[in-house]
């Protein structure tokens, strides 16, 4: 049990690290592809999106891919 919990928490750490990298790309480039309304928005608006991008990067990736296929 201890080992399983330990692996799970390590996996969550990896998930968050990927999320962090994704968030940098998303708030600078990706957000404009997903929502044209985000073009030209101030930096503090994009800063608000960082925590959500870290936590929900798989959903955003899926949404961006769906948008590309439209």
């Amino acid at each position: 049990m201890e080992q399983s919990i330990s692996i799970l928490i390590d996996a969550l750490g990896v998930y968050m690290f990927i999320g962090l990298l994704f968030a940098f790309w998303f708030v600078t480039v990706g957000v404009k592809k997903l929502d044209v309304g985000a073009q030209g928005t101030p930096w503090h608006f994009k800063l608000i999106l960082v925590p959500g991008s870290i936590l929900l990067w798989p959903v955003l990736t899926w949404k961006l891919m769906a948008k590309n296929h439209e």
């Binding site: 049990m1 201890e2 919990i5 330990s6 928490i9 997903l34 929502d35 309304g37 985000a38 608006f45 608000i48 999106l49 925590p51 959500g52 936590l55 929900l56 959903v59 955003l60 949404k63």
Partner: protein, 325 residues
């Protein structure tokens, strides 16, 4: 500003009271207890806001500020959680987050249950809701996913209740403490049950499975520039009367899930009572430049009786309003 003043005032009073009653308590202990209690209280306010606003329009003002309350509550919970982890789990050689999960493995014991795991999990749920509270997320995640995500507040509440009760079992013996938790739970549950009961009696759910048209209501039941909300085939639908015409749209506002049928027609548009988002009754579309759309429904009249086709048209589909004779 009001929320900040409340938080600062509460914190000041809590610190003074705690120092007087428990002079040996450390600063970290008071801090952890203060922000834990603040988050717990705010969560109760947040949970009863929805039912309260459904029961009485006067409470809509709290509903408008619910997301600010939610973010504030998360920040309070985050401070509580962060200081708890720093205080109890960061002094060893094991990763503090792992320590939360591994320092106590007595999941088979009610008295010694690892209650901090429940609090940590609740914090993750609250984080998901707090970081997606901006309208950007509602628009880009879609209303259904966003709503599902934010309905997880009830999972968070259950986890926090267990976290508080099981934690208190290990450290607290005051009946006042347990009584307060019980009163809080009964208050939340009662308001939800009363609002649900009232909604059910007003809605009169209609089973429209397989039917072309089902009877919805009488024209005389709908006030001018207002709506009658019905539940047909599990969906809440608002039938509006305006300018001698009737139109039906889905009751769920695409902005924050507000009840469109509790709003009114303003300048020819259905206006959500929560944040004023507007839709044209004949096609369910927000007037340009806005892009929100709701589903529309076909109506027909039989004398004074209003009948509705339970199958919705796709969001934003134009449906000619029916003229009231």
């Amino acid at each position: 500003m009001g929320i900040l003043a409340f938080v600062l005032g509460f914190t000041l009073l809590f610190f003074i009271g705690h120092i007087v009653l428990h002079p040996n308590a450390t600063f970290e202990t008071i801090l952890i207890r203060n922000f834990g209690l603040l988050a717990f209280l705010l969560l109760h306010v947040i949970l009863i806001t929805g039912p309260l606003a459904r029961l009485n329009n006067k409470f809509l003002i709290i509903l408008y500020n619910r997301r600010h309350l939610g973010v504030t509550m998360f920040l309070m919970a985050l401070i509580h959680g962060a200081f708890s982890i720093m205080n109890f789990h960061s002094l060893g050689d094991i990763n503090p987050v792992k320590s939360v999960f591994l320092s106590n493995l007595r999941y088979d014991s009610l008295i010694h249950f690892p209650f901090q795991v429940l609090g940590f999990t609740a914090l993750v749920v609250l984080a998901l809701m707090a970081v997606t509270s901006h309208d950007f997320w509602l628009k880009n995640l879609g209303p259904k996913l966003w709503k599902a995500l934010h309905m997880m507040v009830y999972i968070a509440y259950a986890l926090i209740l267990l976290h508080v009760v099981l934690g208190a079992v290990q450290n607290e013996s005051s009946p006042v403490f347990f009584g307060s938790i019980l009163i809080g739970f009964i208050t939340v549950a009662s308001f939800h049950l009363i609002a649900a009961f009232r909604e059910k009696t007003v809605d009169m759910p209609i089973d429209g499975t397989g039917a072309d048209f089902v009877k919805a209501c009488m024209v005389s039941e709908i006030k001018e520039n207002r709506a009658k909300i019905i539940t047909v085939s599990g969906e809440r639908v608002a039938i509006f009367k305006y300018d001698g015409k009737l139109s039906a749209v889905n009751n769920f506002c695409r902005h924050q899930g507000g009840p469109l049928g509790e709003g009114k027609i303003v300048d020819g548009c259905i206006t959500c009572p929560w944040h004023g988002y507007q839709y044209l009754p004949e096609n369910g579309q927000s007037p340009p430049p806005f892009t929100e759309k709701v589903e529309t429904y076909q109506l027909k009249l039989d004398g004074d009786e209003v009948w509705i086709d339970p199958r919705p048209f796709p969001e934003g589909t134009a449906v000619a309003p029916i003229e009231i004779a």
